[in-house]
Symmetry: C2
Subunit: 472 residues, 2 copies
């Protein structure tokens, strides 16, 4: 599989094409130092075998912002070095911290904007990025990723909402100026150390930019010296939904939906954005690798994207949060043992509520993915699993009997076929739930369903009996 | 060209594949009767040669709503009949009124929602649609289009925001129930009279549906009896931007951008939605024609979409508002005489401000597109048109000398090539302006530009000299 071929990016060689993009965890303390929970989370990811793990955004500056890692001074280097060493001991993947600058925000609703920054403020931001990038080398990392996506400072400069009237806003070229200065300063400071960038391929807000501009942004940043581009979307303040007594939080509006497309989105919902950028880069003679993200969840889909030339690397945040062993299991030919993300976006909701980010499918209260080397598959108590359907309420309600397992049943996948079509895995429910409401079925179609139980290692029951159902 | 092949839809045969989708004009009076301005607008469209002209949404019920056509009683039939006759005299295209039901809204911010409707209210809506559809037959039209898109009643039933707890909301099947009842009642009332539907292929709001559900909506509505589906997007209340002292108006938020994608969007920005729906319908064995809309502006693009099987009909609202003769000119092989929409969306902005909808490129103050049979092309006063560029302000500023014409210069098209790439027409400016700011250029690229002046008939000057420019 192309997915498991290595890829050289400047001086680092990724062992495979699976990328864990930066994900907020809210596991760190307010002091910004690496702690045990953070270490556990990332060592687990490393063990899972992804080719590149991008550590959650860490601040290049000293502003307070709740539980967030920091890389704003040399005092943070030892902890970061230790984390890198532990990840190296656990797995073969390269690791790059994502470094971020963000503006101030208050509970009153006020937020600092790029228009408020003086030229000295801008110089300080550029310098802080360069200094933080050097600390990534000092701490033994393989590369650094510059955060220019979502609602943060550099993204806000790139945004079409940046109406500064000086050299740093207005036209696309001027909106690019601070980001280009950051790349230039970082490159000058780090030599041939791998430097990537993450930015929005579409802002997904009223008046925001789309692929027509982001392809030029990508090209310009590559010209300025970045080695790869990782394409995100949305996640902006402009359409965030205010909550009484809490600071405005990005990701809570439509652009947040587009940033982390949930159940209602088709697979690879944002792929066209990364594909358009990659095509443009190649047309201009650039071979910079492009990372595509957003609801890419099966090896077949990932492989097709690589073979179609729509991306060079596949970013999987929620699927690897759900099951850190995705890469290792798939490489061993066992996608059938992967615990599969159902895109319920409870992880996203927890972040929005300033809670520790965990997965909906994990056992209740856990802050890390469960681990098991068990090889005994769960079993149905009876043939067909007692699967029943009721189509009388304008939806199809499924019920089945609980599976049994030596270690414990972890959850159930629900599979559905429309008419004569192929079966698709439509959702998952965590045990001990043994039922599912299919609210997206429509009258007039015949549906077929089956369910499969899985344990903590991902061993699965046989398929339950296939049940035909329709809305009556 | 496939674009000019006829297409049979039930009992009507469109002479070609160009569709004028329903566009608000604000030309009617508050009384809802057809008047002279309305007649002029649509007779002009008919003369232009489009295969199907959908008349602006007219109300099936009696609610007041500013300048809006009505079809809520038999008293409106004579005026509508006369309009149809005048359009028949002017051109070969089929004509179908779009019929709409909308809920109440007040300046105070209150708006009626589908949750507020009683079962009797729902029955009255269904009956009103059926009665209005019959009036379309009586008035001599070729078909009727049911408005189920954007912020209006039937779209609000289809929406994932429809949380009614009875049979008419919640699950997809229940959200479909009122729309299906409308289609069923209309079909029963009109026999084999062509019935189309326009609905959103994506809601483009937080938590809204996407193609995964809209393909099922399309299929279900076709099963219920519609003859074609016309795919729009967005245009919702949920993200509309409130304006002091004015009722909330849809299209003013991000979903409004997506409904009428402007300058910052790539061509055919919403095509993937219609293409996905068409593919699904064909997989299910339905041959119902699909209309794609949204920034489709050149015959080459339209033809490619038809040949790729992404749509059966091409909707062009803003391009035909800009130049009603688009179909006739293109069919005669003269796209080079079309006045080309520049997607400035001044038409959209006028609608939002409750003003008569006109085109930014039309002569100031006009409420209809200019007309001319002149065949003398405008000329440059000197070779090269004196085209000059200045790249010192973080953008590229162009200036040129005014062209001269026997009847008057109407405007200028700006063409640009990036590096070694092909020239693309990037924008238009209305005369007497003779300059353009290219704010989307970035440093590091070589750009080439030329401009072309045009007169009211669309005759064009030769290309000005080609000028190379870059941001310094």
């Amino acid at each position: 599989m192309k997915l498991f071929e290595p890829l050289k990016i400047n001086s680092m060689t990724l062992p495979n094409r699976v990328v864990v993009p930066a994900m907020v965890t809210r596991l760190s303390g307010e002091d910004g130092f690496v702690n045990g929970d953070i270490t556990d989370r990332y060592v687990r990811f490393a063990k899972g075998g992804a080719g590149l793990i991008v550590l959650e955004a860490m601040a290049v500056h000293g502003s307070k912002s709740g539980p967030l890692l920091r890389i704003s001074g040399d005092e943070f280097t030892p902890g970061l070095r230790e984390l890198r060493q532990k990840m190296k001991d656990a797995g073969p993947g390269c690791v790059a911290p994502q470094i971020i600058h963000f503006l101030k925000i208050s509970r009153s609703g006020w937020r600092q904007k790029v228009d408020d920054l003086s030229i000295d403020d801008i110089r300080a931001i550029v310098d802080a990025y360069a200094a933080a990038a050097v600390r990534c080398i000092d701490a033994g990392y393989d590369g650094v990723e510059l955060h220019m996506a979502h609602a943060y400072t550099l993204s806000s400069f790139l945004s079409r909402m940046n109406k500064r009237r000086d050299d740093y806003g207005g036209s696309l070229d001027r909106r690019l100026r601070v980001p280009v200065e950051v790349v230039t300063a970082v490159r000058k400071a780090v030599g041939d150390f791998p430097v990537g960038v993450r930015f929005d391929g579409e802002e997904c807000i009223k008046g925001g930019y789309t692929g027509d501009e982001s392809k030029l942004i990508a090209w310009r940043l590559v010209q300025a010296g970045v080695d790869y581009v990782s394409i995100s979307a949305g996640g902006k303040f402009e359409d965030a939904q205010p909550r009484e007594g809490e600071p405005l939080y990005p990701y809570t509006g439509y652009s947040g939906d587009r940033c982390m497309p949930g159940k209602t989105y088709p697979p690879a919902a944002n792929l066209y954005i990364a594909a358009g950028i990659r095509l443009f880069l190649r047309e201009q003679g650039s071979s910079a690798p492009v990372i595509a993200t957003g609801k890419i969840n099966t090896p077949e889909l990932a492989e097709k994207i690589l073979n179609d030339g729509h991306a060079d690397l596949i970013g999987m945040a929620r699927p690897i949060l759900c099951d850190p062993d995705w890469p290792r299991k798939v490489q061993a030919g066992h996608f059938d043992r992967v615990i599969r993300c159902c895109y319920a976006n409870v992880c996203k909701a927890k972040d929005e509520r300033f809670q520790t980010v965990s997965c909906f499918l994990w056992p209740k209260g856990e802050i890390q993915a469960p681990q098991s080397d068990d090889s005994v598959a769960p079993q149905w108590p009876e043939e067909g699993a007692g699967l029943k359907a009721d189509g009388s309420k304008g939806r199809i309600d499924l019920k089945w009997n609980a599976a049994k397992d030596n270690e414990g049943v972890y959850g159930y996948d629900v599979w559905r076929a429309l008419g004569e079509g192929d079966f698709e895995r439509v959702d998952a429910v965590p045990a001990p739930v043994t039922g599912y409401h299919d609210t997206t079925a429509v009258a007039g179609f015949e549906y077929r369903y089956y369910v499969q139980g899985y344990d903590y290692a991902g061993n699965r029951t046989p398929a339950s009996g296939i049940l035909q159902a329709r809305i009556s």
